[in-house]
Symmetry: C2
Subunit: 89 residues, 2 copies
């Protein structure tokens, strides 16, 4: 593994791990009014494209982290649809 | 350009464009209480790693979109620091 590939692994890990506090925050507050629905849906669509991109070029870091990120994004999208439509009291 | 590279370009574009409504939403609501600070900071750090990863492997799509995403993330982080610490009224 080159240092470049290592950076890709670390970078993807940081982004993917970053989704955990975001998802937890929305569920703890039971509100996702400030989360943008286009942001969440475009991100989900984009990460899916990147998963295929990673598979097609055999980029392990891209495949690994986008796969996990997609799972978090589905949860965030569900939270947005459940909690995101009305203002928090 | 292969179809895989094209998918990478489209995917990165979707994610990066998705940041625009998110940033606008936070500024329009003048609140970023529900946005997680660890999410924003880890994402910024991760995207910076990916920029270097993209440069080191010569992946044009990775470099282009991470570069733009970093700019949006800096704005989102500033918004979080400005509007994110107290609850929206």
């Amino acid at each position: 593994m080159t240092w470049g590939e290592l950076l890709g692994l670390i970078g993807g890990g940081l982004i993917t791990i970053g989704f955990i506090p975001q998802v937890l925050r929305v569920f703890r507050l039971k509100s996702a009014y400030e989360i943008s629905l286009p942001f969440t849906s475009l991100f989900l669509l984009g990460a899916t494209c990147w998963l295929v991109y990673g598979v097609s070029l055999g980029l392990m870091a891209v495949v690994l982290w986008n796969g996990i990120a997609i799972a978090f994004l589905v949860v965030l999208l569900c939270a947005k649809l459940k909690y995101g439509m009305k203002k928090r009291k």
